[in-house]
């Protein structure tokens, strides 16, 4: 057996968890507000990655510009897809499965446009990150960026959801759309806001994935199954559920990688963890862990 480098595994779990969290917030909130699983969400992740690549690598801009651009690019795509495609379809009364098929179709449009522009082969950002070694733990500058982004997002969203009117409206509509509508809330403008923010955060997670590994057209699609696992484990529409579930799945995935490597098995199989979590949660407790946190109060 390999000697376990526990600090490093936990640290890597935090990195994975942070990326899952950023990727899943929009998916979870838009699922409950617009009431269908949006598969185009994968392409918000991919687009963010490629926009970040364009600015930092092809145009030689500083990294913080690339961060902001990846957020903006994906949030605009997300808002546009809601305004131009999904909202009109919902107004025409399309059933859930049709909306889902439309979201896969729109995803294909976006993904193949990206593939047309940047090609299908992997692209990497050639950045040299500062590196610190603390005992058994290796930390790079990129990891600091990711953790900072996750902490800032979590705190900002917490304050938004608890202290502002729009935040309270988001929580109310995520919990019960009919009730929110009958209380006179403008659910479509709340939805627009959620799609805008959620898409942007997904784009950010895509840029981080590109910085860690590389940019491929299937980038977002690879992250989508873990993101669905986070959404379902956390309870659809629950921000705090996403927060907790993302790190649970981050830890589970990193330990499974270590376990698989120790057994000599292909580490690709780590994806099984997300699948098993989706199936088990849906069978045992479809409302996820959100029902158990905050004393039974959802969201």
């Amino acid at each position: 057996m390999l000697p376990l480098n526990l600090p490093q595994i936990f640290f890597n779990s935090i990195i994975t968890g942070s990326i899952f969290m950023l990727a899943a917030i929009g998916l979870s909130l838009s699922y409950s507000l617009s009431r269908f699983p949006n598969f185009t969400h994968a392409e918000y992740i991919t687009l963010g990655g490629y926009v970040g690549y364009l600015l930092s690598e092809q145009l030689g801009m500083p990294l913080y510009v690339a961060f902001i651009a990846s957020f903006l690019g994906s949030s605009l795509l997300s808002l546009a897809s809601y305004n131009v495609v999904f909202k009109p379809l919902q107004d025409r009364g399309s059933p859930l499965i049709y909306l889902m098929v439309a979201s896969i179709g729109l995803g294909l449009v976006v993904r193949h446009t990206i593939q047309q522009i940047w090609g299908g082969s992997p692209l990497t950002i050639r950045a040299i990150w500062p590196r610190w070694i603390l005992g058994h733990l290796t930390i790079t500058g990129l990891y600091i960026y990711i953790i900072t982004a996750a902490i800032v997002t979590a705190i900002a969203l917490h304050l938004l959801l608890t202290r502002t009117t729009i935040g309270k409206c988001i929580r109310a509509s995520a919990d019960n759309v009919e009730l929110a509508l009958s209380s006179g809330m403008n659910v479509s403008s709340i939805s627009r806001f959620v799609w805008l923010i959620g898409g942007g955060l997904a784009g950010l997670s895509g840029f981080f994935m590109v910085a860690i590994a590389n940019a491929i057209p299937l980038l977002g699609w690879r992250l989508l199954i873990p993101a669905f696992a986070v959404t379902i484990l956390g309870g659809i529409g629950s921000f705090y559920g996403v927060l907790i579930a993302a790190y649970i799945i981050g830890v589970a995935e990193n330990f499974s990688v270590v376990g698989l490597a120790a057994l000599g098995l292909p580490t690709d199989l780590k994806m099984l963890i997300s699948f098993v979590i989706i199936v088990v949660v849906l069978l045992v407790k479809p409302e996820g862990i959100s029902a158990s946190i905050r004393g039974g109060v959802r969201v």
Partner: protein, 327 residues
């Protein structure tokens, strides 16, 4: 591409194969309302079963039967979830199931090798599924020399099976059994209150649909001559959904029309790609952008498809109608 007729026959073959796949989704989603987004997995299972059977010297007929049975059995097992899940949960789970099956198939041999070494200490050798490298599949038909005759025999095989599948699905959907399926689609609770064990029907339908998908996968694999896990991406599932929604949900002729149209788009992209040299764009990208955009347009403007579902016409229905008007 020396002989254009070979190109045409290739497309005709694919239309036949995906016609069977589209019929299988039509009985699942079109009649019963089961949102199976894992179709690619069942085609894959059929394809690999047939490949392994032929490789081990079994007769093609046995290979076809085996791939139907294996895909159907796995479908039956997967349907245990279908009974409990809401439609969107089922869709997500089946989509993830297809991706996971592809992942397992790709890593199966390596995993078996690693586990053998771990348990027995001996470096084993397994090559059942061929991993990422895929598998060469021997054709069901062997006519050396005469390529045209070979293609004609292949087409006869696939269209014969398509015709039998069509007749089967048509009889099924017009029967009292088919009317129960539609009742489940419209209102499951109401069908339960009428004493129908809806879970039995749903299980049978997922099993049946998967079996038909397995048949399509097997036929395609032996014609293409090569399969790998990458041939069964979610694109494939989406294309089959496109055929059903475009052609007409719940209309068997409609989904065959849908299969013809979607495969024709594929054929055009393939034609442009192979007949023109350098192009400033990749026809495959344009193909999927077009397919993705048109499904959105269909859902927005013609959600019931080109050929809409029709009321069932059987002698019994006719008698009941006449009896009603007379009475």
């Amino acid at each position: 591409m020396s002989d254009p007729s070979i190109f045409v026959m290739h497309i005709a073959f694919r239309i036949g194969v995906y016609g069977i796949a589209a019929l299988s989704l039509n009985i699942e989603y079109g009649y019963t309302g089961l949102s199976n987004f894992g179709k690619a997995a069942f085609l894959m299972m059929g394809a690999y079963t047939a490949a392994i059977a032929v490789e081990n010297g079994l007769h093609p007929v046995i290979a076809i039967v085996l791939s139907i049975v294996v895909a159907g059995f796995i479908g039956l097992s997967a349907s245990l979830f279908a009974l409990k899940f809401r439609e969107d949960y089922l869709a997500i789970t089946m989509l993830a199931f297809a991706e996971i099956s592809r992942l397992i198939l790709r890593n199966f041999d390596d995993s078996v090798r690693a586990l053998t070494k771990l348990i027995t200490g001996v470096e084993g050798y397994t090559n059942i599924f061929g991993g990422v490298h895929g598998k060469v599949v021997r054709s069901f038909v062997s006519i050396p020399g005469d390529y045209r005759l070979y293609n004609i025999v292949q087409l006869t095989l696939v269209y014969g099976l398509l015709a039998s599948s069509y007749v089967f699905v048509r009889l099924l959907s017009d029967s009292p059994y088919g009317r129960v399926l539609r009742a489940i689609r419209e209102d499951e609770l109401a069908s339960q209150t009428l004493g129908k064990k809806t879970w039995v029907y749903k299980m049978q339908i997922i099993g049946l649909g998967s079996a038909l998908a397995g048949l399509a996968g097997a036929l395609n694999a032996q014609f293409e001559g090569y399969i790998s896990p990458e041939s069964f991406q979610p694109h494939l599932t989406f294309a089959i959904w496109m055929m059903v929604i475009l052609g007409g949900v719940g209309n068997n002729l409609g989904v065959l029309l849908g299969a013809t149209l979607v495969e024709s788009i594929e054929a055009i992209a393939l034609f442009v790609k192979s007949f023109f040299g350098y192009l400033p764009f990749d026809p495959v990208n344009i193909q999927w952008i077009f397919v993705g955009a048109s499904i959105i347009a269909i859902i927005a403007f013609k959600p019931r498809g080109l050929l809409e579902e029709r009321p069932i016409k059987t002698p019994a229905v006719e008698v009941a109608r006449i009896g009603y008007t007379k009475g």
